[in-house]
């Protein structure tokens, strides 16, 4: 695999920023008080959650979202590993002597 870094950087620069996953279907309460703090490594206490602020169906939606998120993360990780394993190509250099 060969990557032209200058082309890669200009494509990244041109790309529009967008969310990698749509979280609009997930309960905002669960995103704000459970999922995102958990992913940031914060402690979430069971007795501090408001169990009236979400439903069992919201929990099922969250599980689906987490499953999809895990799939996306695995794909990104696989690509990153592929990149890391590739051997850097040397540019031809002019001989001076």
């Amino acid at each position: 695999m060969q990557i032209k870094l200058d082309r890669f950087c200009s494509l990244l620069n041109e790309a529009e920023e967008e969310k990698s996953m749509d979280d609009s279907e997930v309960s905002p309460y669960l995103l704000k008080n459970l999922l995102y703090p958990y992913l940031e490594g914060k402690d979430i206490r069971l007795d501090e959650l408001d169990y009236s602020a979400f439903t069992l169906s919201d929990m099922n939606d969250l599980f689906l979202f987490v499953d999809n998120m895990e799939t996306v993360c695995t794909k990104i990780q696989n690509r990153a590993e592929k990149l890391l394993k590739s051997i850097p190509a040397t540019r031809p250099a002019m001989k001076f002597c």
Partner: protein
């Protein structure tokens, strides 16, 4: 972190489940969410699904006995229904309905290694109940908890229907006697 999230959130799901059925108060919530918490809490949750629970821990199996005041009252009134309506316990529609419901729900769990027996006696305080044997390789604890919550809610709801049927019968009897 994401790979542990699903398992960690099972504990939150369990709490929400108990909250939904009004049984969260008896649970110890002094915990931080983590991936092993669910297993720790499932044992305590099983003891909270009904008004009374006994556990016998054997070598390869745990045996639970679940009973509840609403269930006891239900089976006591089933006997009264038999007397008032002149039917046998076996032909009592309320007895049949409850047995079918318990069997259908407990039979629907997607796991091997469990069994149950429904007791409908009323000869002592907790004589009516469900004996549930769960072997080590049983894997549907969350479903079992949910099913038991639904079963004990069924007894609470159907108790009111049974009371109404008995009350209607008594009113009818009084009217006939007055006439």
């Amino acid at each position: 972190m994401i790979e542990y999230a699903r398992q960690a959130f099972d504990a939150v799901y369990l709490c929400k489940l108990l909250h939904h059925y009004g049984k969260l108060d008896g649970m110890d919530l002094d915990w931080t969410v983590h991936e092993d918490l669910w297993w720790h809490m499932s044992f305590e949750a099983l003891q909270n699904v009904s008004g009374a629970c006994w556990v016998e821990c054997l070598d390869m199996e745990n045996k639970y006995y679940f009973s509840d005041p609403a269930m006891m009252e239900y089976y006591r009134l089933c006997r009264e229904y038999c007397r008032n309506f002149g039917v046998s316990l076996k032909r009592n529609l309320f007895m049949q309905k409850a047995e079918e419901y318990v069997d259908r729900l407990l039979g629907s769990l997607c796991s091997y290694g469990y069994g149950w027996t429904l007791h409908t006696r009323i000869n002592h305080e907790w004589a009516s109940g469900i004996v549930c044997g769960v072997e080590d390789h049983f894997s549907a604890y969350m479903d079992l908890i949910e099913v038991l919550l639904r079963i004990f809610l069924f007894y609470e709801t159907e108790l009111e229907v049974l009371k109404q049927a008995l009350s209607d019968k008594n009113n009818e009897k009084t009217r006939k006697e007055a006439a």
